[in-house]
Every structure is written in C-alpha cells, then in structure tokens.
C-alpha cells in the first residue's frame, strides 16, 4: 500500500505516472488481489484452477454490480443504506413473475424498472423533501425489508423455470455474472468519465455551491442518479436471484454495508466528489478472493469479516492522511 510515494508535483508527467496518480486506489487494490492470488496459490496450487476462479468472482458479481450504482450515489455526497433490502424485494418480484409463467425477459426487466421507480421516490425525498439521504434510506430499509417478509411470509420461491436462471449460464466458458460485471463496470466507467451527466455527479459531490453556479440542476440530477442506482440494483438482483434454483426471501445480512464498503475501499470518498466504479468492482472481487483464499490456506472463513474490516480502516486512514497532507500543502 505504498503507491503514495509517487512524486505528485512534477509539472509535466509521463503517461504512466499520470495513470498511477489518477488511479492510485484502483492500482493498490489490483495489486492486493494479485499478491493474494500469488500467495494463496503458492500455499495451495488448486486455488488457481479456472473453475475455482470463476466461482470466486461470479458468486460476488452481484455485489460488484450493485456497488457501481452505490458509487454514483456516494460520489454525489449521498448514501443508500436500503439497497440490500431493495435487492431482496426485487428478487421476489422477479422470481414471482418467472414462476407465474411470464416470459423470461419480463421477469428480468421488471426488477430493473421497479428498482428505478422505487429509488426515484427516494431521490425525490432527498432532493425536494430535503431529508438527508441516510434518513430516507433508513426508512426505506424498514419499509422494504418489512414489506418483503410480510408479503412473502418468509416463503421461498422454488420451481423457477430453467431458462430464468441467467447466473448459471455461461458464454465462452465464463459465467454470465462475470460478463455482466465486466460489461456494467466498463460502461459505467466510460459513462461517468465521458458524459456530461457523469461529470456533473462529481461536481455536485465535490462542491455543490460551485455546481449550482455552473448551472447544474442539482435536484433533478439527484433524482436521476437515485433512479439509475435503482436500475443497476435491478441488474444486480437478476444476478443474485438466478444463482440457485430457489429465491430466498432474505438477503445476506448487512448486504447494504458490504456494498457501501466495496465502493469506499474502491476509492470513492464518502465526502463525495471522487472515485471510480472500477475500484469498487475490484474491491468486490478482492472481498470474495479473501474469503476463498482464507479457506484454501485453511484459515477459518469466520475471520473473513475481521480481515475486511481491518482493510477498510487501513484504506480509509491512508486516504485521510493523504487528504490532510494535501490541504495542509494548499493552506501553507
């Protein structure tokens, strides 16, 4: 974790150093993943088997996808603690439609539209109701979580039609979720970087007063970005819900926090205004790689979360030290 050492203040820089300085966090995580793979496979060569790699990445792909939308939200200086519950609700909607005999594309499309619609309401409450996003999404968390269980009664959805199970399909030997993760990440990255919309999100999170002075319609953007985040959560839902033959009425506990963590470790600053979606995807891969790695080196998986927690703290402390240094340099 010492990419920080790169000299940052030379007037003209080569393409490489520019790349390192712009994508520092992403490179750190990519290196961490590589080191992890190297170390674990030295201890246990079976770790590098193609099948194993696919399993590692595809099982967590939905987290990576959801983290893309979360990153956008955090970049604008907001947060969403309800996305885990949202994925649960959307999964049930999708599964119910599939079992009821609707065409597969309806079952896949519904969670995307429903996610966008639900989160557009959240965005409107944040932007126009002037309620802090953490409060709105906290309320949403209760509503969605409670609504889900009270409607399904905790029952699992089974007898899913085989062609609904997207996550179990493969293309060129690579599981579908991996394809989705890669494609979504690339599209989102390009879109965040090259579209005026994407840039305006950074502006809102970085300095909302200046963004307003630059003529960006902040309220509308907030609603839009929440809706997009909801739609992406819909995509994540499809990957999540089609992994198994059944859909449970619960999602992994603290799923929303895992997703937020992936974004933050990936370099999205909770203060808003900075970060990319590549980092969050890499972070999601890192999480699952750590989990799998611990098993392969015979460390109990029960330590996984402690390791991740430690990782978050280290990343955040490095980030804050860098920020504090930059502000000091600017003020002196």
């Amino acid at each position: 974790m010492s990419v920080e050492a790169a000299p940052a203040f030379r007037p003209r820089r080569s393409g490489l150093t520019r790349f390192v300085s712009a994508y520092g966090q992403e490179i750190v995580i990519a290196c961490a993943i590589l080191i992890l793979f190297a170390v674990v496979s030295l201890i246990n060569p079976r770790f590098l088997g193609a099948n194993n790699l696919n399993t590692i990445i595809s099982g967590n792909a939905y987290i990576a996808v959801a983290a893309i939308g979360m990153s956008m939200i955090i970049i604008t200086g907001n947060i969403d603690v309800s996305v885990g519950a949202l994925i649960g609700v959307l999964a049930t909607i999708s599964g119910t439609l599939a079992v009821a005999g609707y065409p597969v594309w309806v079952a896949w499309g519904a969670p995307i539209l429903a996610g966008a619609a639900i989160n557009a309401v959240v965005g409107a409450l944040v932007a126009y109701g002037k309620i802090p996003s953490i409060v709105v999404t906290l309320g949403m968390l209760s509503i969605l979580r409670g609504g889900l269980v009270s409607i399904t009664g905790g029952a699992w959805i089974s007898n899913l039609p085989p062609d609904f199970l997207l996550a179990q399909q493969r293309l060129l030997g690579v599981p579908a979720p991996v394809w989705f993760m890669v494609i979504c990440t690339v599209i989102a990255f390009l879109w965040m970087r090259y579209s005026a919309f994407g840039r305006s999100l950074y502006a809102i999170g970085g300095n909302s007063e200046a963004a307003r002075a630059a003529g960006i319609p902040i309220e509308r953007r907030i609603v839009e970005v929440f809706a997009i985040h909801g739609a992406i959560a819909g995509v994540a839902t499809i990957l999540f819900a089609t992994q198994l033959q059944i859909i449970q009425s619960t999602v992994p506990p603290n799923l929303e926090l895992t997703i937020i963590t992936a974004s933050v470790i990936g370099g999205v600053s909770i203060l808003g205004g900075t970060g990319t979606v590549i980092g969050s995807t890499l972070a999601a891969i890192l999480f699952s790689a750590i989990g799998a790695g611990l098993i392969f080196v015979n460390v109990s998986a029960y330590w996984l979360r402690a390791v991740i927690g430690l990782l978050i703290l280290i990343t955040v402390l490095i980030d804050m030290l860098r920020r504090n240094r930059e502000t000091r340099q600017a003020s002196r």
Binding site: I131, G139, S142, S150, N254, W303, I308, G309, I312, L317
Partner: protein, 314 residues
C-alpha cells in the same frame, strides 16, 4: 433551536404515541395489560440503551454504525472470558463491558485523531468488530450460565423486569447529563458549530472520545442483558441493531446533522416503535409488516418537521 421549537417536535411525537396506544388498545384487549407492557419494556431495553447514547453521538453531528457489532463482540467475549478462560462470571461481565468501552474509544480515536468521517470509521469497525466476534467464536455458542445471571435478563425486581430498571436509570442519567450539565452543553455546541466550540476553548475532541466510548459501553451493557435474556451467546447478536437505534433517535427529533435532540424524544421514539411492533402483531399484522409502518413513520415525521422548520437556518 428555541425551547418552543424543540417541544413542538416532541409534542407531535407524544401525541402520536398516545394515539398509537389508544388505537392499539382498542384493537386488542391484550395490548393494554400490565404484563404485556412490562414485557415490551423488556424487549425494548437493548435497543433503548444503545439509542440513548446514540442520541449523544448524533447530537455531536456524528454517527455510530458499529454498535451492533460491539454488542456481538462483547457478548462473545463474555462467553469466552467465562467459559474458555474460566474466569468468574462477575469478572467476565466487567471485562466484556471494558471490551465494549475500548471498542468505542477506538472509534473515537479514529474519528478525532485522523479526522475520518464517523460514518466511514464506524462502517470499518462494524466489519472489524463483527469479524472479531465471528473469528473468536468460530460459530460456537456458549450456554449454561449460572442461574443468578438470568435475573438480569429474565427476572424482575419489585414486579418490574430487571433490565427496565437499568434502562430507566440510564435514561434519567443521560437526560440529566444532556439537559443540565456542562457536558451536555458541550455536546450541543460541538454538534451545532464545532469550530465555534473549539474557538471558545471547549475540548471538542475529548467530548467526542467520551461519547464514542460511552456508546461502546452501552452496546456492551446491552450485550450482557441480551445474553442473559436469551440464555446463550452467539456471534450474530445485535446484527442490525444500529439501524433500529438510529431510527429511534431520528424519529425522536434529533437532527442527523447534529446540534439538536433530546433524550425524551428518543424515549418517545423508542416507545412508539415498540408499541407499533407489539400492538400491530397483537392485532394480527405479521410482525414484519409493522417494520414497514415504522419506516414510513420515520420518513413522514422528518418530512413534516422539515416542512415546519423552513425558517432562517439557510
């Protein structure tokens, strides 16, 4: 923040609580019985303890997401100290409380020394502390505590559940501290305008350290009660309790931006949530359906009080 304005939110809330109680009592004859109410108080205690201290945290403009994990970790440590290390249970309880307090202190240090936003700092320790709980316990639960220990979570004193006394004492002490002492004043000042507080010579960082430590202590205390109530120790104890506590605090009128809030409000928020949960389930609504209502109440209350407070703050 005039007294009047503060009262207004709490008055709205108090009226809501009374309305809810009346409606729920009418729905089910079993609701308004002493036994049921006391039992509800028992169930409310763990979240209540955490929410009371969380009020302080949020009044300073911070947040503590790690309380659920501290609860889990303290519970596991209680079991480990007692069963694995063979320490007397009294000492194990004390040590578990210390573990929770230190965990809170650690949060405070990250937040004050490194200027990490509280949301992120406690998000990190949320994973860390829960991870330690899981790693140490290896998914084994600890049971078979001596009988006297269950008095705390299952027994009664003078006809009232033991832990409800504890909650009452903590609530009174907290209300006094926040409302009447220099500590409380410093808490409000820190949350309203940290810079001005610092410029006035207040020890802002120390106030925060103490409050986050207290938050950890409250979570550990809740852990001990929790273990005593359910007679077992598991590493997933307290998962999600942070969101319940924050909901109660915010519902109680504490501003998520800091500087505004009272213990009374938090208690009203707690009571409203618990009454809704219980009353609706007695009236035949599935228990999870009530959560929906709580979420809606949270958003609506804040929305309404936002509409009322469109004044010169901006």
């Amino acid at each position: 923040m005039t007294i009047k304005k503060l009262l207004r939110h709490e008055t709205i809330l108090a009226v809501l609580v009374v309305l809810a109680l009346i409606v729920l009592a009418a729905q089910s004859p079993r609701f308004f019985t002493v036994d049921n109410l006391l039992n509800q108080g028992r169930l409310m205690t763990e979240v209540g303890l955490i929410a009371i201290v969380m009020t302080f945290v949020i009044v300073t403009g911070g947040i503590d997401l790690s309380v659920g994990s501290i609860l889990g970790m303290s519970a596991i440590m209680l079991g480990v100290f007692w069963k694995n290390f063979g320490l007397p249970l009294e000492l194990a309880i004390f040590l578990a409380l210390m573990v929770g307090t230190l965990a809170g202190l650690f949060n405070g240090l990250i937040i004050t020394r490194f200027k990490v936003p509280p949301l992120i700092a406690t998000l990190g320790t949320l994973a860390l502390y829960r991870g330690i709980a899981e790693g140490v316990s290896q998914a084994r639960s600890v049971r078979g505590y001596p009988d006297w220990f269950y008095v705390l979570g299952q027994g009664q004193v003078l006809g009232v559940p033991t832990q409800l006394w504890l909650l009452g004492i903590v609530a009174v002490v907290a209300a006094v501290i926040l409302g009447m002492t220099t500590w409380g004043r410093m808490t409000y000042a820190t949350g309203s305008n940290e810079t001005a507080a610092r410029f006035s010579g207040l020890r802002v960082d120390r106030v925060k350290l103490l409050i986050y430590s207290a938050s950890g202590f409250a979570a550990a205390l809740a852990a001990v009660i929790f273990v005593s109530r359910v007679s077992t120790t598991r590493s997933d104890m307290g998962t999600g309790v942070e969101l319940d506590a924050i909901t109660a605090v915010v519902l109680g009128g504490t501003s998520i931006f800091g500087g505004r809030g009272t213990i009374i409000g938090t208690l009203l928020g707690l009571i409203l949530i618990q009454a809704l949960k219980n009353g609706l389930s007695l009236a035949g609504v599935k228990s999870d359906g009530t959560i929906v209502l709580i979420g809606a109440v949270l958003i609506l209350t804040i929305l309404i009080s936002n509409l009322f407070h469109r004044d010169g703050t901006r």
